[in-house]
């Protein structure tokens, strides 16, 4: 039986070889695009929001919300997935208008979609609302050349992800 990762309203039955972690951050999460422009991430007094990290490789203990510290260790067959919840005041904004956990295609991945470009890797970022909760999905593939094969594995994982409604 494969392990189940559950907490803070996020739940997933992990596929073989996949592991994961869920933690809460008190500062508002900063998207990869924003983080690239600003070094100020922590903002005292923010509401805690869960961050789920999933990977088909060994996740290190120290990681940034969008995988800094983990993506550097990835091999070509590895995948990193971050599901980051944002504050409820983001709801009803255009950015979070898409509904539901997405199904991805290989064409959506782009080496320029990475928070910090790493040779060979490819990234994808998507904002959406599920269960009345605003999320950012950030996926890193270890190899852009293998995007078609890796994308199928990503969709398998996302298909198992369940969000408890707010």
């Amino acid at each position: 039986m494969t392990p189940r990762l559950s907490g803070h309203g996020l739940d997933i039955q992990l596929p073989a070889r996949w592991e994961g972690r869920i933690y809460q951050r008190t500062a508002p999460a900063v998207s990869p695009a924003t983080a690239a422009r600003t070094a100020a991430i922590n903002s005292p007094g923010g509401q805690p929001h869960p961050v789920m990290h999933l990977a088909n490789f060994a996740l290190p203990a120290s990681r940034g919300d969008f995988g800094t510290g983990a993506v550097e260790t990835m091999g070509p067959q590895h995948i990193f997935v971050a599901v980051v919840e944002y504050a409820a005041d983001c709801l009803d904004t255009a950015l979070y208008a898409p509904r539901g956990i997405p199904t991805l295609t290989a064409a959506q991945f782009n080496p320029n979609g990475l928070q910090r470009r790493i040779v060979g890797q490819s990234g994808f970022q998507h904002f959406f609302t599920e269960g009345g909760r605003p999320f950012c999905l950030y996926v890193v593939l270890g190899s852009h050349r293998h995007a078609a094969a890796l994308c199928g594995e990503v969709n398998t994982v996302l298909g198992r992800l369940e969000v408890v409604p707010a």
Partner: protein
């Protein structure tokens, strides 16, 4: 002219047959060499008996029979992070250090973790403490250096049958088995065990096909004689004592 073309065609056909024959010969040689090199699989094949031979009762194994099964680890970190870490069915080996905040013997391990102890062969190190109901997160936080992966999981202690602390286990990621375990005063002290266990997984035993066939022949002969796996005669002396002439019959294989 027609005769010349005919002769050339015949010569061409003969040469083609010769070339095809040569290529086939090379393919056969390569195939035999490949078999001698234990086939194409990157890992050793799983243990199994030949079709006619029943498997030993309660001894079904997929990897190495002498290794106890490992388990994935689920727990929480000192900061409350919910963790599900894989040790089974993964590419890397995992060094599990079962430590507590109270044991005197664990001090050396905590100190070496602070010194950034070098993990052999790219293995992952997980410090496994008991859950908050059995150990103090505050004391553990004082002992565990930043950046060290610590999971609090009483279930893991139970799953792995940890006899006490400190205790170190090395899990083979590919087979999902514990391939080394022991205790000591520090990582350095059990470093030999860890290095040997990690190194063992990189030295694969290449068994020639001839050996495999010979073993199958022996199994068939034993089966024909009514001797099946786990038969007492394979492991010790016969109950009534064999005669001197066939004293070797009761010795282990």
């Amino acid at each position: 002219m027609i005769a010349l073309v005919t002769v050339e065609t015949v010569v061409l056909v003969i040469l083609s047959v010769l070339v095809v024959g040569l290529l086939r010969g090379y393919a056969t040689v390569l195939s035999r060499l490949h078999e001698l090199d234990s086939g194409s699989g990157s890992a050793a094949p799983p243990f199994r008996t030949i079709p006619e031979v029943p498997e030993p009762v309660q001894q079904r194994i997929e990897g190495r029979a002498e290794w106890a099964p490992a388990h994935d680890i689920e727990g929480v970190s000192l900061t409350g992070e919910i963790i599900s870490a894989r040790t089974v069915g993964v590419e890397h080996d995992t060094v599990l250090a079962f430590l507590t905040s109270g044991c005197e013997g664990c001090a050396g391990f905590w100190q070496e973790l602070e010194k950034d102890w070098a993990v052999p062969g790219g293995s992952r190190v997980l410090v496994v403490a008991k859950g908050p109901e059995h150990d103090s997160p505050e004391q553990l936080a004082g002992l565990c250096p930043p950046g060290v992966d610590l999971v609090m999981s009483s279930q893991a202690w139970t799953d792995f049958g940890v006899p006490g602390s400190p205790y170190v286990m090395v899990v083979d990621g590919r087979t999902g088995r514990v391939k080394g375990e022991g205790s000591g005063q520090s990582f350095s002290q059990v470093g030999g065990l860890i290095a040997q266990a990690v190194g063992d997984s990189r030295r694969r035993i290449v068994k020639p096909a001839a050996d495999r066939e010979r073993e199958e022949d022996v199994d068939r002969a034993l089966l024909a004689a009514g001797i099946t796996p786990a038969d007492p005669s394979l492991y010790g002396t016969l109950p009534d004592g064999p005669s001197t002439s066939d004293a070797g019959a009761g010795r282990p294989r």
